[in-house]
Structure formats: C-alpha cells, structure tokens
C-alpha cells in the first residue's frame, strides 16, 4: 500500500471509530438523537449527559492516552535501540503506578494537591524507574540485560503496589486495583484537561525524530554525527515520564499498546522516526479507542477494564515478535 493511502486510512479510521464509540454502550442512542446532537440541538437531557459528559470525554481521553503511549513506545524503542522496549514492559508504568498507589494509600489524595499531586508522583515514579533501567542497560551494555533489569524492576514495583493494596482500606483497595488493570471508567472533562500535557510531550518527542534515527545506529555513531547522546537520553526519559506518568495517573497501566503499535507502523511505513512517531500516535489512538469501546459493549451493562483487553490482544502478538525475531535480539 502506498504511504499516503495508509495515512488517509488511519486518519479516517480514527474519526469513524470516534463517532461510532459515541453511539455504542450500555445506553443506546439512536442515529436521529446523535444527528441532532451534532447539530447542536438539544435532545433528551439524559442523552445529552451521556454523550457530552460521559462518552465524549472518555473517547477523547482514550485517543490521547493511546496516541501518547504508542508514540512514547516508539521513542523508547529507538533510544534503547531495541524493538522490544515498551514503557509498560521495562517497568516505567509500574514504577509510576507504585508511586501513584503510595500517594493514594498514604491518603495524600485528599490533600490540597489533589489530582495534580497524584499525577506528579506518578511522573516521579516513571522518571526514577526509566533512569534505573537506563543505568543498568548502560553498565552492562547489552539489550537482554536491559530487558531483564526491566522485568526485575517491574516485579519490584508491582510487589510494592501489592503491598500498598494489602495496607489499604476497602475503599482505597478499589482505587489501587484500578491501577493494576487500567480503565477509562473515571474519564471526565477534568481528566481530559490534565491529559492535554500528553500531546505536548508527543510534539517534543517528534522534534527529536532525526536524532532518534541516528541513535538507532549506536551511541558512538550518533556522537560522530554531532549528537549529544546523554542530553538526548535525558530529554526522552523526561517526555516518557510525563506521558506515562499522566497516563497512569489518569487511567492506570495500559500494556502492549506502546510495544505493538510502533512495530506495526514500521512494517507498513518504515523505520524513520519522522514517520514512526506520528504514525504510532494515530494507530495507538485508534487501537486504544477500539479496545475501550469493545470493553464497554462486550459484557454490557458491565464493562471490561481496557488494560485487560490490551494485554489479552498484545500478549500473543509479543510472543509472535519474540519467535519471529529469534536470534537477532541476543536474548
């Protein structure tokens, strides 16, 4: 397929699924009601509320988080020079979740800092874990040791989340459990506002596209091309922590989107980060929205947390990647 066709298809698919997602759910909305809403006319008050106050922010949040998670996955893979890196896989998301859970259980959530404090502590957790994995990866210098360090840090962070759940009251337990699963259940216009920091960080990531291309050749090669690699790495870690921290604080851990999406984009549009980052953002937005919509309708009126769905779909794909790339990753 020619590249412009892929881009147009991707954009069209995002728009169509966003519209479809507004109609689907446990409360059915007729086409006529939807049409009059689009025209700005008022319909039944309940329909107004469901569409404008519940579904629209939820759709927007799924799009933004999906775009951010996939774009940051692409950048992290470039920086680690490893097509199997992913913020969730190398422990960044669980690090963010650990700090968020700690924040909740220590009851700081009700302090004056409120949600910003939660997002901030998730951001801090994301920063610390990314830096840890980077340090271990640099010290030993091999891809497999970096991945293994990520697995260990992941396990430690999740054990910490488990410890916090053990210590928490029943009410807190529900909120903590939510981080382990990942769900858009709590989406409202407030969360959309906070999420706006994500597209900003994606734009900044995009600005480093060319440098990320050079880094895939190796740190030495990139240095010879005039790039200050440590500075670049610090920037990417920061943007990743912002995106992952905000996402985790808002919706919890969403696994595999950041891993699978950039890979699919590379297969169809090539490896240039000028293409991979915006392409991943579009496809990530599309896939996460579709997964969330599926989760809303599949067992309606109850709903399946989206993190469970992405893991169920992404896990087998990851295994396929490992088998297909056997030998080339030095694992």
């Amino acid at each position: 397929m020619r590249r412009p066709v892929v881009w147009i298809l991707l954009m069209a698919a995002v728009v169509v699924s966003a519209i479809v997602a507004m109609f689907l759910g446990s409360a059915t909305i007729s086409l006529a009601q939807g049409w009059s809403l689009l025209n700005g006319e008022s319909t039944a008050p309940l329909v107004d509320t469901i569409v404008l106050q519940i579904r629209l922010p939820r759709v927007l949040l799924a799009l933004i988080v999906g775009a951010g998670t996939a774009a940051t996955g692409a950048a992290i893979q470039g920086m680690f020079r490893n097509p199997l890196a992913d913020p969730a896989l190398i422990g960044v998301s669980s690090g963010a979740a650990l700090f968020a859970a700690g924040y909740m259980v220590l009851n700081l959530h009700n302090s004056a800092w409120g949600f910003l404090g939660l997002a901030g502590s998730a951001f801090t957790g994301g920063c610390i874990t990314t830096l840890l994995v980077l340090k271990v990866g640099q010290r030993s210098g091999t891809i497999s040791s970096m991945l293994l360090a990520g697995i260990a840090i992941n396990a430690i962070a999740l054990a910490g989340v488990g410890l916090f759940s053990y210590l928490s009251s029943d009410l807190q337990l529900r909120s903590v459990a939510f981080w382990a699963l990942g769900s858009f259940n709590g989406a409202d216009w407030g969360s959309v506002q906070v999420a706006l920091v994500i597209p900003l960080a994606v734009l900044l990531l995009y600005q480093d596209s060319q440098k990320l291309n050079a880094v895939t050749l190796g740190d030495l090669e990139a240095t010879h091309l005039g790039i200050n690699v440590p500075k670049l790495r610090t920037r990417i870690v920061l943007y990743t922590a912002v995106i992952t921290g905000a996402s985790v604080a808002l919706v919890g851990i969403i696994a595999f989107i950041g891993l699978v999406v950039p890979h699919l984009i590379r297969l169809t549009l090539g490896s240039n980060h000028h293409t991979v980052i915006p392409g991943s953002a579009l496809l990530g937005a599309l896939l996460l929205l579709m997964a969330d919509t599926l989760g809303r309708v599949i067992i309606a009126p109850a709903e399946l947390p989206v993190g469970i769905l992405t893991a169920l779909l992404g896990g087998p794909f990851f295994i396929y990647l490992v088998v297909q790339q056997k030998g080339r990753l030095g694992i």
Binding site: G78, R81, N82, P83, Q210, K211, N213, A214, T216, L217, G218, L220, E221, T223, H224, L225, G226, I227, N228, R266, L267, G270, S271, N272, R328, L329
Partner: protein, 256 residues
C-alpha cells in the same frame, strides 16, 4: 591543517592500552594502521575521534582540542566508521545513507543527487530501497561506508575520515574498489586514516603505515620502510617472504 596526537597515553582500569603515541594526519594522505589483535588500533581510532579522552598527552583537530569544539562542529569536519555497527530496525539503505547528512540539516530531497553518486561508487544502486536488516555482512558494511562518505562528501578539503577495518567484510573486488575510492577522497583534499588487517592492501594504497604493537608505535613511514622482516616478525610472530612483482611493487607472503 592537521589531526594530531601528541604523546598520547590511554589507560583503562589501570591497564595501559596506548603508550606515548604521536602521529599527524594531514589532508591529502592515507595513513594505514596495522598491527596484531589487541594492539590498540581501535582505541587509537577512538582517541582520534574524540570519543575517548587521552589519559596523557593531547589530541587536536586543526590545533583545537576536542573539548573546545562542539560535537556538531566536529561532525562537519570528521567522519568515523566504527568497526561494527549493529542495527535492529528495518531502515532502508537509502535512509541510512541519508543519516550521514544529519550534521548539516536540510531535507532528504536536497541530498538525493549526492546519495545517488555515492551509491554508484560503492555498488549499492540496486540495494537502495532494500531493508538494511535483510542485507549480507558486506552489503551492510558498504551501506555504513556510504553513510560516512555522505557526511563529508561536499566538504572534502580539510576534513578527515577515520575508518576502522573498512574492508573487513568486503570481497576482493569491493576491497579494491574501496581502496581506490579512498585514494579519490585524499585527492579531493581529505585526510584518511584506516585500520587494516590486509598488509598488502595497506602497503599498496597507503602513503604511510603505522605499525602498532602492545599500544606502542613500532614504526611509522613509507610501507616498505616500516615492514622490515624483523619488525613484522616482532609484531605478528610470523616471518614474511617478500616477492617483487613485475610492476616493481612488493607483496608480503606469509607461510607459517
């Protein structure tokens, strides 16, 4: 205009890797570095490229220390081919060659004629849209060479190329093609330093040879002067037999 190392020493974890190495690389010459495995050849390249700092002595590019020169400015005057580049992402050959232009900015379309010219010189025309990860070892090496050439292609006078074993993965025809390409680079005013294992190829194409052993310079100068039987025996532990060819050039044969 010189790339100069003065009394350079390099130690790593208390172990001396290079000892009192001094050399000058001038535009218009090919300097080949030969020596046994572990002699410090790649470390010398790293030192000259500025990616490792000498523990003793100094390295200067046109009388400027690397610490006084920004990475970006250095990249417009010095291009380096490391011994081994591993890449797990499916870039096309042309995209990798284009990365050589990163220090100069501009877009891919601007540099298209340059990429075409270099691809032809290295026999990469048919491979330009191929995915790098599917190439053979020699094809990968030629792609990396093309990228390094692209970096300084339009600014040859006064610029320097450092190649660490550029011909290691190439077949005989491509080895010869690369060596005459290196000759073209110096004719355009570039200085070329290359680490080589093939003594004959080095002796035939280089203006000067540097024989390195245990981190020390055993000899530097015209190939025939450096490659005396005693030195070769001392460096490699092998006694050569020298054969005079019809055109007057010499070949070093190694039997046992």
């Amino acid at each position: 205009m010189t790339l100069r190392a003065e009394h350079c020493g390099l130690s790593y974890a208390g172990k001396a890797i290079l000892r009192d190495v001094s050399l000058e690389l001038k535009p218009g010459e090919i300097l080949a570095v030969v020596g046994p495995n572990g002699a410090g050849k790649s470390s010398l390249v790293g030192l000259l490229a500025g990616t490792s700092q000498p523990t003793l002595g100094s390295v200067t590019l046109d009388n400027q220390l690397y610490t006084d020169l920004s990475l970006a400015a250095r990249a417009t005057q010095l291009a380096v081919l490391p011994q081994h580049t591993s890449l797990d992402f499916p870039f096309t050959v042309d995209e990798i060659v284009e990365m050589g232009r990163i220090p100069h900015g501009g877009n891919a379309r601007m540099h298209a004629p340059m990429r075409t010219e270099i691809a032809e010189l290295l026999g990469l025309e048919a491979l330009r849209e191929r995915v790098y990860t599917t190439l053979s070892g020699g094809e990968k090496q030629r792609t990396q060479l093309a990228r390094v050439l692209c970096q300084l292609w339009d600014g040859m006078p006064g610029s320097y190329f450092l190649f660490d074993e550029p011909t290691a993965a190439l077949d005989i025809a491509h080895q010869l093609a690369f060596m005459s390409l290196a000759r073209q680079l110096v004719e355009k005013g570039a200085g070329v330093l290359m680490v080589m294992h093939d003594i004959n190829l080095a002796a035939r194409y280089a203006d000067r040879l540097l024989l390195l052993k245990d981190g020390e310079v055993m000899g530097m100068g015209a190939p025939a002067e450096v490659l005396t039987n005693e030195r070769v025996k001392a460096a490699f532990g092998v006694t050569p037999e020298v054969v005079q060819l019809a055109d007057g050039s010499r070949q070093w044969l190694f039997v046992e």
